[in-house]
């Protein structure tokens, strides 16, 4: 089980890292989502135990570790919030630059910088 989970985590993280390195902002956001799920899965895997649901009063025999589930739930919620925020920022970038591609954003930025330099020289 651990081997399977670590393989999944590795694939998720790798795919996420690949997407983050793309120039398209939306691909970057999707890449971050994949990496966040890699982290969540690692959290789950870190306390993987076989047992009954840990609901009070505790049943006889082994119970599974409730702490990792609580942590993963918290991390998931944070992850969702952050993803929404990232999409919001990406949309704002689109609104202000009319582009969602880093190459075009860089061009735009270079053009602005050149304008500023011109102003400074003329002062």
């Amino acid at each position: 089980m651990i081997l399977l989970l670590s393989a999944v985590v590795a694939v998720l993280f790798g795919a996420g890292a690949f997407l983050v390195l793309k120039t398209d902002l939306l691909r970057v956001v999707v890449g971050m989502v994949l990496i966040s799920h890699a982290a969540n899965l690692t959290l789950m895997a870190s306390g993987l135990t076989r047992g009954k649901a840990p609901i009070y009063p505790l049943p006889n025999g082994e119970v599974s570790d409730p702490l990792v589930q609580a942590m993963t739930l918290t991390a998931l919620v944070i992850g969702f919030g952050v993803t929404a925020l990232l999409l919001g920022i990406a949309y704002r970038v689109y609104e202000t630059h009319f582009a969602v591609d880093f190459d075009r954003l860089a061009e735009e930025e270079a053009r602005r910088e050149a304008e500023l330099e011109q102003e400074e020289v003329s002062v």
Binding site: T42, L43, S46, G47, T74, L86, I89, H97, V123
Partner: protein, 460 residues
């Protein structure tokens, strides 16, 4: 109760402020007042910690080991005090110059919750949660102002720092897996029995996560773009308050949780620190605008903290704490002054310049002095020489930018209208604090030594 107040005040204030229009001065001042109240509560807590020793409580009345522990010791109260003071000044500065966004005061209050929370928690996972609260507010604050450059800076900042956060989350999972605990004290005890090769991997992961936050070489690439594009008060918040997460994190996790690994990797940290100092200084020398120079300078200055941490022992840790505190004060002063024009501003900027360069009577002198003392204690001639070189370079780049901005006829400082007197007075007051700490450094030195003792003694 004293432990809960510094957290509860900004938390309730933040929720209330989120519903109000922050552009109105009254709301802004209410936010400043609530942060100031939190500062007073933290000061009361700090006095108790300094006189009676660490304060600890378990939230929700749970037994120890079940609930989340909150713990205040000399290190955490010192960082909370510094961060709250910085946030109060920066928020007051922004209120005085007119807030443009309705959410700004609430976001600063949320960031305060996150920062004080992570300083005062004794639990690794709630450290991550508070860390995210602070970071998420920081992502939004970076875009404050709404200019195209600021929005794209916010995106870069958010993506890079989120990567850092997820890496930290993976490190927490690994720590839980090998120790079966999330309480820092317990983790530190149990980690001593774990296979060293496993622990070193976890320690490196934690270090990478905080390195991204701090902008250490080679994780610095995002920092200049962000610091140079955002508004001066926001840059001051990011470098003076938020960057404390990184320094507190490497101190707490490095010296307290992974002391064996810290000792093992000391030479690697010294090399990274030296490269960071020299790289930051070289890059800063080749820049022409004040925000860019200060941004690269803040990359370089973190190197001193790293070197002091790597030297370790009571002297090294005390130097690291002191340098981290003075560095964040210097950066606040420089960033705030760089955005203003008119009389007194040049003087305030100059105080910041000599403080970063480590020239008396500014407080930065004692920071440099302590790091030198630690390096001499380490008996390494090369290290002392390299630290001296870094210090000399910082004099060059900062005086260069001071001359470029404030002495050149028709320079940036000469153009435009003078800023409002209150803003200049506030910035000058920060400069006076830096000078006062340089003239009477004993309280700060004692506080940083007390913080270092916590780290040397290990967790209770």
């Amino acid at each position: 109760m004293t432990l809960v107040l510094p957290l509860a005040i900004p938390w309730f204030a933040a929720v209330a402020l989120a519903a109000l229009d922050g552009r109105r001065p009254a709301v802004g001042w209410a936010a400043v007042a609530s942060l100031a109240a939190a500062l007073v509560a933290t000061a009361a807590l700090a006095i108790r910690v300094w006189t009676e020793g660490p304060v600890e409580t378990v939230t929700g009345g749970w037994p120890v080991g079940v609930g989340i522990t909150l713990r205040a010791d000399a290190l955490s109260v010192l960082f909370s005090l510094l961060t709250l003071a910085v946030l109060v000044v920066c928020l007051a500065h922004e209120v005085l110059s007119g807030i443009e966004s309705r959410l700004f005061p609430a976001l600063v209050a949320f960031m305060t919750v996150g920062l004080t929370g992570l300083f005062l928690t004794g639990d690794i996972f709630s450290f991550y949660v508070f860390f995210e609260i602070a970071m998420v507010s920081a992502y939004v604050i970076t875009g404050y102002g709404g200019r195209p450059r600021q929005i794209s800076a916010a995106f870069v900042f958010a993506v890079v720092n989120l990567l850092g956060s997820f890496v930290f989350l993976i490190a927490i999972a690994a720590t839980y897996h090998v120790t079966g605990s999330l309480e820092m004290g317990q983790v530190a005890e149990r980690i001593a029995d774990v296979e060293p090769s496993t622990v070193i991997l976890i320690a490196v992961t934690v270090f990478v996560a905080f390195g991204v936050k701090l902008g250490l070489f080679p994780f610095h690439f995002w920092l200049p773009v962000v610091y140079a594009s955002v508004r001066p008060a926001v840059a001051a918040i990011l470098s003076g308050a938020l960057a404390n997460i990184g320094t507190y994190g490497v101190l707490r996790f490095g010296a307290d949780v992974f002391p064996r690994e810290l000792e093992f990797s000391a030479s690697a940290l010294v090399v990274l620190g030296v490269i960071t100092i020299l790289y930051g200084a070289m890059q800063a020398m080749s820049r022409r605008t004040a925000p860019e120079v200060i941004a690269y300078s803040s990359i370089g200055q973190v190197g001193y903290v790293l070197i002091a941490l790597a030297i370790g022992g009571p002297i090294g840790y005390a130097a690291a704490v002191l340098y981290a505190i003075l560095n964040s004060l210097n950066k606040v002063l420089l960033f705030l002054a760089s955005g203003l024009r008119g009389w007194l501003v040049g003087a305030a900027f100059f105080v910041g310049v000599i403080s970063v360069a480590g020239i008396p009577p500014a407080a930065g002198f004692f920071g440099k002095l302590e790091v030198f003392r630690a390096a001499i204690e380490d008996a390494s001639v090369t290290l002392v020489a390299l630290l001296f070189l870094g210090g000399a370079l910082s004099v060059v780049y900062l005086l260069q930018i001071y001359q470029h901005v404030y002495w050149r006829p028709g320079g940036v400082a000469a153009g435009g209208e003078a800023s409002p007197v209150v803003l200049r007075a506030l910035t000058f007051a920060v400069a006076l604090v830096v000078l006062a700490l340089g003239l009477w450094p004993e309280p700060l030195l004692a506080a940083s030594r007390a913080a270092a003792e916590v780290l040397v003694g290990g967790p209770e």
